[in-house]
Each structure stands twice: as structure tokens, then as C-alpha cells.
Symmetry: C2
Subunit: 336 residues, 2 copies
Amino acid sequence: MARIALDAMGGDHAPQAPVAGALDALAELDAAHSIQLVGRRAVIEEHLASLAGSSSHLRRVDIVDAPDVIEMTDKPTAVRGKPNSSMMVGLRLQSDGRSDAFVSAGNTGAQMAASMLALRLHAGLKRPAIATIFPTAKRSVVVLDSGANVDCSADELVQFARLGVVYAEDILGRRNPAVALLSIGEEPEKGNMVTKEAHALLAESGMRFLGNCEGRDLPAGTCHHGDLDVVVCDGFVGNVVLKFYEAVAPLMIRLLVKEGMPEESIRKALRSLDYSEHGGAPLLGVKGVSIICHGRSSPAAIKNALKVAVQAVDSRMNDHIGRRLGAAAEVLGEKT
Amino acid sequence: MARIALDAMGGDHAPQAPVAGALDALAELDAAHSIQLVGRRAVIEEHLASLAGSSSHLRRVDIVDAPDVIEMTDKPTAVRGKPNSSMMVGLRLQSDGRSDAFVSAGNTGAQMAASMLALRLHAGLKRPAIATIFPTAKRSVVVLDSGANVDCSADELVQFARLGVVYAEDILGRRNPAVALLSIGEEPEKGNMVTKEAHALLAESGMRFLGNCEGRDLPAGTCHHGDLDVVVCDGFVGNVVLKFYEAVAPLMIRLLVKEGMPEESIRKALRSLDYSEHGGAPLLGVKGVSIICHGRSSPAAIKNALKVAVQAVDSRMNDHIGRRLGAAAEVLGEKT
């Protein structure tokens, strides 16, 4: 049984997309799960009424009033000045024990700041990481960090790997997930200073570390050393590649349509590359569940993010992260 | 009139691909240009004979004997131990004034080392940069560095911009090319430590600096601040994105073919994304012309690289680079 708080005011198409996504999710989710729509009550009620009719799912929806809104243009620090924003109210539900997860398509930087403020980080972490699912020619791959951290240390890259492994196990159902380090050559000595140091640390981390992978291995889903489950990188590189990936499919579709090929068939063929199918990127490392959706999320994207949130709660991902980070810290403590 | 030395032994398909590419290039190039095939004389003669028949272009081909070969698996330092390799002999032709440019599809690291050894760097540079052409939805964009340097300083990023501007002018024919800095947000304060510092330096560099661009702007060829000509980044990021780009089109083609779409039409539509059309990546910063081709270059790719080499010679790109770096150094000298 999971209670998922959804930011009804977050995203380019809010509140329409979140409210519609919530109703779609309830239609597909087990009846034990419920959704808390957080935001301006009157606006939410109006959208619910227009969308739901007399839907039987409505009894699994609560409205939690939050008068303020974090705008897309607000600085992350704005969350401190807006304690009654839908983002802060939604996350506080979780820290108060009245909710199990939070989902938003609002301002990403603000969601990170608010999540750290309301949920706090697991012991030993300096920053959370954003884990993104990359569709590939094989099965999907977790790439992290995809934008929460820049100028990462080698230790931080190792922590990203630990977070990614739990995510791959609990959400993607992978057993003993394989970790690779994104670099510019498959040999350990290829890379920059941080990746070379991280390579050595990962090799001794106890995780199933494959070695370095390269940019070309991401679309392939496999590298010289084996199939990928988790790919670790600095958030600068991860963010550049993620945004590049998001933009390259539309370019290709346009070129194909221009050449007279049927758009519908193209979209069908490339559906597996569609981000909205993958349901948001969790902010890993906070003590709780906070799922970041793209600002331009459709109802389908919100629905999928809500399902990922349920999976995260049901699998007890957060407990597993805490335990794994704790165990790693103990091993380190014994060593020193 | 350009005399281009071509490494006949370099690349996965050597010597067949280089020799065939040379003959194809001569058929298309103005009769004033000639090619020097550098490598094992007997092998080259054999391939020339089988390919050329009684081609009238043969009088514009010289064979320059070089008994040794740098293997793809050799370390860059191997060039010192193989002074009679096709790579070193081909580059020495240029430093001796007997050739105007060098093209190879061989070992990239070795070509960089050999080029620095034989041609030396322009004053004030610490390392050369690899400039790669990215096909985009608009016109093509020069991205550098795409793999020669990691852990770059802000000053080095500014130098890459100067090199890229000359390349965009002389090879792509752009007037007053626009420079953008690859980062993770369009605002100056977005990025890592080095990009933030580089942003400030670029803004005062005298170049037409647009500001930051993001990963999504690369396939688009345009960013929030305007259309792109030159995009500057650290060689780690550049290499990851370049290899990603090379791999993502084949993935999409496979998905489309699987859905029953005709492969020939797909390839025709995506032809503008084909790297072989763009003819190699120049190593900028050395005093001379050294063009790096992909290891798996086809004859068409080699042909196009040879044409880029001719353009670089004809436009006096190398002189322009020297002059621009010199002028920048003078301005800096006056400031301090």
C-alpha cells in the first residue's frame, strides 16, 4: 500500500497533466494505492471535476491544499521562502509520515533543494544524484548522475554507483547489476583524473564493476566488458549526454518525415526511445522517495512516474539504499 | 596547389581504403593538386595497379616509401621508436617543406604525438585540439576539443574557441563565426568550475561569443542565444558526446528496419548525419595540417578528408591560426 503525493502545480502543463496522469495511474494501479494531489484546492477540484466525471477512482484521491507555487524560473533557494508551496507541502507529508513518496514535474533545482530540506540525506552523502533511465538497443540502463552534481570527486562517483545498483535491483529487477564508468576509452588508464581514480576505487568496491564504457556504448546498452545495468558519470557529462539524447530522436524523425516516410510508423518504431515511457528520474540519496519528471511531462509521463514511485515504495528502495551505504561506510571504517 | 601526404598504412581497411580514396579524390580535385602515398612501396604499388588500371590521375600520385607501420594497438609513444613509420615519414615530408598536409586513418593517439613531434605547436599552446564536424538540423557545427585533451583549464577552452573560429572561417566559409560554450544550462552561472571561468574569459575574448549552449542544442545546431558555428568543450565531454552521436543513428536505423521500414530510404534520409561525408577531424594547433580520420574510414571518407586537407592548405588555415593566436597573446601581454 503506497500513498503517493503528486505536485499538482508542477510542470509546463500543470495542473491539467498531473491531474489527468493521476487518474490514469489510479485506473492501472492496484486498489490499495492512493494519490494525494498537492496544490491549490479550488483549481485541483475544478480539474478533477472536468476530467473524472463520476469515476470510482476518486475515493483514492485526496486533495492537500498548498496555496503557494514554485515557479519554473525560481532559484532553488526559493523553497525556503515558500514553505506553503505545493513542493514543500508535498514533501513534508512524507517527512511527517503521512505519505510514502513525492512526484513533481516542477522546477528541478527547487525539487532537489526541497527534497534535501524536507527528507534529508542518508548518512555519509554530500549530495543526492539524479538517476535517469536510458533506452538502449538492449535493455534500459540507469545513468547517474544526470545533472545534480558537477565537479564530482572519485568518492562521489563510487557513491553514485551504490545508489544506481539499488535502483537497478529494486526498480528494474536486475540481479547483481553490472556497473560501468563512463570514460573515453575502455582501458583503466583512459579518462580524466577523477575517472582514473574512480576506476581504482570501483574495482575494489565489492560491486560488479565491468570497467570503463564509452559514449558509443550507451545507445548500444553493452560495452567491451559486458552488458550494462548502471553507468556512472559526473553530473556535467551526464546532463550533456541526456539532453543530447532527448534532442537527437526528434531531429532524426524530422529528417525521415522530410524524405516522405510516414510519421506514425516512425514514431511507433522509435517508441522504445521515448522518455515518457520511462516515468521520471528519482533523486537518489535522500531519505525517502522523490521523483523528478520532465517539465513538459504529458499525463502518460506523470502516470508512469507515479508507477515508479509505487515500485520504489513497495520494494523498500530507500531502506535498501540506507543499508547499502551504511555497509559500505562500515567496510571503509574497518579499513582505516 | 596542394601536395597532400596520405598514410597508406593507416586504418582498419588499409591500404585498400586509402589507395582507393586517393584515386577517387584525384578524380574530383583540381589537376594542380597531388597526393603522396606513404607506406610500404611494394604493397602500395600492388593496390594502385589493381585499382587504377591506366588511370590518367596516376601522374599526380607519388609513392614515398616507409617500411614501418604504427599499429592501432601501439601506444602514442611508439612513434618515437618508429621514425620510419608511414606516420612519421608522412609528417616529416611536411616539416621538410616537401608536402603541405598529412591525412591518416591510423592510430589517433599516435598521430597526435607524431604531429606534435614533427610539426610542433604554435607558440602559447600546450596541446592541440581535435575539431569535429557535427551534422545538425541546421548547418554543421565545429565541436572541439573532441578527445585530445582532458582536464582542460578555462584558458585552454578559450584557445579551442580561437582555433575553432579559424576552422569555421577557412573550411566552412563562415563569416564572424558564433562561439558557444557547452554547459548544463543557458545562464552564465550554470556549469562546472572550469566552464564558469571560461564563460567570463570568452565574454571578453573579442570573439562573437553567444554564451552557454546545452546538449540538446547540438543536434539542433542552434541555441537560446543564436545559431551555432563553434562549440567549445573539454575533450572528455566532447569525446563522450561524439561517440554517443556516432552510435545513436545505427541504433535508430535498426529499430526502424525492425518495424518494416525500407533501409535504403532510411539511410538516404539520414545521410546528412553520416560522418564519412564530413571528411576527418583536423588536429588544430600544430604548425601545419594533420587530419585525423576514423579508423574504419571508407574510401569515400578518405576522399573527403583529402578534400578538407586541400581546403586547409588553399585557405592558409595554419597561417591564420598562428596569426590569431599571436594577436590574442599580444592583447594579453598588453593587459598584464
